[in-house]
C-alpha cells in the first residue's frame, strides 16, 4: 500500500469518511428511530439523537409484536429465520461437499453429464422454478413448516462447484498416501478432505447463512400462519397497515434485530472467512 503524504492523505481520508457516512447513516437512522416515540415520527419531527424509549420498544418488539397488522412477537420470527437460515446453510454445505466428493474422486457412469446437470441448475434461480417447487412442497404437505422453508433451497450448484474446484487443487499424492496408509474412501473424506475444507466451509457458511436469512419471496409464498413467519416477511407486513399508523419504532427495531445475526456471523467467522477465500492450507 502506498502511504500518501500531507494534504493528499487528508483528501483520501475525507473521501473515505464520506463513503462511510453514506453507508452508515441509514443504519444510524434505523437505530435512532427504534428508540423514539411513534407519535413524534408520525408527525415528521423525528430527532436525530436517540430517544428514551429503547427498552420498552425492544421489549415490545421481541416479546409482544405490533398491536396492528401482525401480532407475532419478533423473537419468534427470528427463531423461524434462524432455523431456516441454519438449515439452508448447513444443508447446502453437507449436500454439496458430498456431491463434489463423488464427482471429483469417483469414476462412475455418467459422471460428467451429472456434473453438467448440476452446473445447469445454476442458471435456474428460485424465482424461475418457483411454481413447480411450490406445487411439490404443497403436495408433500410441507407448507407452513421448517422443512418446507429450508429443503427446496438446500440443493446448491454454486457450493458444489466451489468444493469441486477446491478438491481438484488437493494434491493427488495425499489421496495416494491415504490409500497406502490404509484409509478407505470414507476415511479419506472424513480424516483428510473435511479438515482441509474447513476454511472453505466457513466462508461458504457465512455466505449461505446470510443468503438464507435474507430469503423473502419463498417464505412469503409458503408460510401463511403468523407463527411460521420469518423476520424479513414480518417487517414487510408490519409496514403495510390498512387502518392504523405504522408503528415505526417497532418496524425499525425489527430491522435492527434482523441485521444482528448476519453481523454476528460475519464478525465471528471473519478470520476463517477471509482465509477461506484467499488461501488454502496445503
Amino acid at each position: 500500500m502506498v502511504e500518501e503524504e500531507g494534504f493528499r492523505r487528508y483528501i483520501a481520508h475525507a473521501i473515505l469518511w464520506i463513503g462511510i457516512a453514506i453507508v452508515a447513516f441509514p443504519v444510524y437512522i434505523a437505530i435512532v428511530a427504534s428508540t423514539q416515540d411513534n407519535a413524534l415520527i408520525a408527525n415528521g419531527q423525528m430527532s436525530l439523537l436517540p430517544g428514551g424509549h429503547f427498552f420498552e420498544v425492544y421489549y415490545q418488539t421481541i416479546f409482544v409484536g405490533t398491536s396492528g397488522s401482525t401480532r407475532e412477537p419478533v423473537g419468534n420470527m427470528m427463531l423461524n429465520s434462524l432455523v431456516m437460515a441454519l438449515a439452508i446453510a448447513i444443508g447446502k454445505i453437507a449436500i454439496s461437499i458430498i456431491s463434489a466428493y463423488a464427482i471429483v474422486y469417483f469414476r462412475f457412469p455418467f459422471r460428467m453429464p451429472i456434473f453438467w446437470i448440476i452446473f445447469i441448475t445454476l442458471m435456474l434461480p428460485v424465482e424461475v422454478r418457483i411454481y413447480p417447487t411450490y406445487k411439490i412442497v404443497a403436495d408433500l404437505h410441507m407448507l407452513d413448516s421448517y422443512a418446507g422453508l429450508a429443503l427446496p433451497l438446500i440443493a446448491s450448484a454454486t457450493a458444489t462447484l466451489l468444493f469441486r474446484q477446491f478438491f481438484m487443487t488437493v494434491p493427488d499424492e495425499l489421496l495416494e498416501a491415504s490409500r497406502i496408509d490404509g484409509a478407505g474412501p470414507l476415511r479419506f473424506f472424513w480424516d483428510t478432505l473435511l479438515p482441509l475444507s474447513r476454511t472453505n466451509m466457513a466462508a461458504l457458511f457465512v455466505i449461505l447463512f446470510i443468503l438464507g436469512w435474507n430469503q423473502y419471496l419463498w417464505p412469503l409464498l409458503i408460510t401463511t400462519r403468523d407463527d411460521m413467519q420469518t423476520i424479513q416477511v414480518g417487517i414487510r407486513k408490519m409496514i403495510t397497515t390498512t387502518d392504523a399508523l405504522t408503528e415505526w419504532p417497532i418496524v425499525m427495531a425489527t430491522a435492527v434485530l434482523a441485521m444482528l445475526p448476519p453481523v454476528f456471523v460475519v464478525v465471528v467467522m471473519q478470520k476463517l472467512f477471509v482465509r477461506g477465500l484467499v488461501e488454502t492450507e496445503k
Partner: protein, 361 residues
C-alpha cells in the same frame, strides 16, 4: 523382508500409449534398487505400479512370493515416500506418522512406541507436535521417511524423494537414507533422474529409457561396461564422448575383433593429454574451445580438427565434433590451443552402429 520380482511387467494406457514395455527386474531381500532414467522413461510409473497406485496391464509383480497385481496398496505391505512428501497438512508430525498405524487398528501404546522410536532415529522428537507447514524442507522429508518406517513394511518405495531439497541437503539426506536402509535392512526401490544419486545409493541399478530396461546391474559394473550408448551417455558425468567410427578404421586400428563396431565411446576421465599414440589406443587432435575449472578437476571442451577426423559424426549428448576431456587439478591449456589427447585400448567402449549392442573386443 521380501524380495521383489517384476516379470514382464507392462502398462498400456487406455489411449493405447505403452508406458512400460515389458520389464523384468529381480530385487533380492534387503537390496537397494534404484530406477534411473530421463523424465518420461516410465520409472515413476513402474514404481507406482509396484505401490498399487497404477494398474498393471500385463505381467506380474511379486512381493515376497505373493503376486500383488490385484491387491490394494494398503495390503501390499509397502510404504512409500513421495516427491512432495504428501504429508497431511492438518495433522501434527506425530499424527502423520501414527495415521497409517491407527488405520490398521494398532493399539495406541504400540503406535506411541513406534512413532517415538522413529522420531528418535530421525531426530524429530522435538517436532512431534508441530504441523508440517512449520517444518523446513529437510524436516518434512524426514517426517515422510518416518511415516514409512513406523509401518515396518516389507518394501520401501521412494519416488524422487530428494528432488525438492537444495543441493547440500540432498547430499546429506542421501547418506541418511542409505544408512537407514542398511540398518533396517528393508528391500527398497528408489526412483531418481539423478545419475549421481543412482550411483551412490544403488546395490542394483536399473537404467530405463522409453519404457524399457536398458541395463540392470551393479552401478560400477554398469559404469565400466555400459551395454548401450544410451547407458554410456546417461551414467557418468560429464557424459561419455561418443563418436561414430568407420568400421574399417576400427578394425585396422583396434584389431579385427571389433568388426561390427560403429560407435566409439571414450569417457572424459580416460583421456590423457599427450603427443604419443598408445598402441591399440586412440589419439585425437583437438582445438580447445572452453575450459571449466571446478577445483579438483578441470573439464576441457574441444572440437576435433578436420584433418584428423577419423570419425564422421557424433551421436549421443555432445554436439557434433565436440569432445570433453577431464583432467585432474587446475592446470589446463589455453582456449584456442591445439592439443592432442589419447586413450588406451582398455578404456575404449565399442558399440554397434545403432548403439543398442556393446561389442567386447
Amino acid at each position: 523382508m521380501a524380495n521383489v520380482t517384476l516379470r514382464n511387467v507392462r502398462k498400456t494406457y487406455t489411449g493405447g500409449f505403452e508406458a512400460i514395455k515389458g520389464v523384468n527386474v529381480d530385487v533380492a531381500d534387503g537390496q537397494f534398487c534404484v530406477l534411473v532414467g530421463p523424465s518420461g522413461c516410465g520409472k515413476s510409473t513402474l514404481l507406482r505400479m509396484v505401490a498399487g497406485l497404477e494398474t498393471v496391464t500385463g505381467g506380474e509383480i511379486d512381493i515376497g512370493g505373493r503376486v500383488v497385481n490385484e491387491i490394494e496398496p494398503a495390503d501390499r505391505d509397502i510404504a512409500m515416500v513421495f516427491q512432495n512428501y504428501a504429508l497431511y497438512p492438518h495433522m501434527t508430525v506425530y499424527n502423520n506418522m501414527a495415521y497409517g498405524l491407527r488405520n490398521r487398528g494398532m493399539k495406541e501404546a504400540e503406535v506411541k512406541s513406534r512413532v517415538e522410536e522413529a522420531a528418535r532415529v530421525l531426530e524429530l522428537t522435538p517436532m512431534l507436535e508441530r504441523k508440517p507447514r512449520q517444518l523446513s524442507g529437510g524436516q518434512r522429508q524426514r517426517v515422510a521417511m518416518g511415516r514409512a518406517i513406523v509401518r515396518q513394511p516389507k518394501v520401501f518405495l521412494f519416488d524422487e524423494p530428494l528432488s525438492n531439497l537444495d543441493a547440500k541437503l540432498r547430499i546429506s539426506m542421501r547418506v541418511e537414507i542409505r544408512k537407514l536402509q542398511r540398518r533396517l535392512n528393508v528391500t527398497s526401490i528408489y526412483v531418481t533422474h539423478d545419475q549421481l544419486e543412482a550411483m551412490t545409493l544403488a546395490d542394483i541399478l536399473v537404467v530405463m529409457n522409453g519404457g524399457q530396461v536398458e541395463q540392470v546391474g551393479n552401478p560400477l559394473a554398469i559404469y565400466e561396461k555400459p551395454a548401450t550408448t544410451f547407458v554410456a551417455s546417461f551414467i557418468g558425468a560429464p557424459p561419455m564422448n561418443l563418436m561414430s567410427a568407420r568400421t574399417e578404421d576400427i578394425t585396422s586400428q583396434l584389431g579385427g575383433s571389433a568388426g561390427e563396431a560403429g560407435i566409439l565411446g571414450i569417457r572424459p576421465e580416460d583421456f590423457v593429454i599427450t603427443d604419443q599414440t598408445p598402441s591399440g589406443g586412440v589419439a585425437l587432435g583437438l582445438t580447445v574451445e572452453a575450459i571449466e575449472r571446478v577445483g579438483a578437476e578441470t573439464f576441457v571442451y574441444g572440437s576435433r580438427a578436420q584433418d584428423e577426423q577419423r570419425v564422421a559424426a557424433t551421436p549421443g549428448e555432445l554436439p557434433p565434433g565436440e569432445v570433453i576431456v577431464r583432467i585432474p587439478g587446475t592446470q589446463a591449456p589455453a582456449v584456442g590451443a591445439r592439443i592432442r589427447v589419447a586413450a588406451v585400448r582398455q578404456k575404449l567402449h565399442l558399440f554397434s552402429g545403432d548403439g543398442r549392442t556393446r561389442i567386447e573386443a
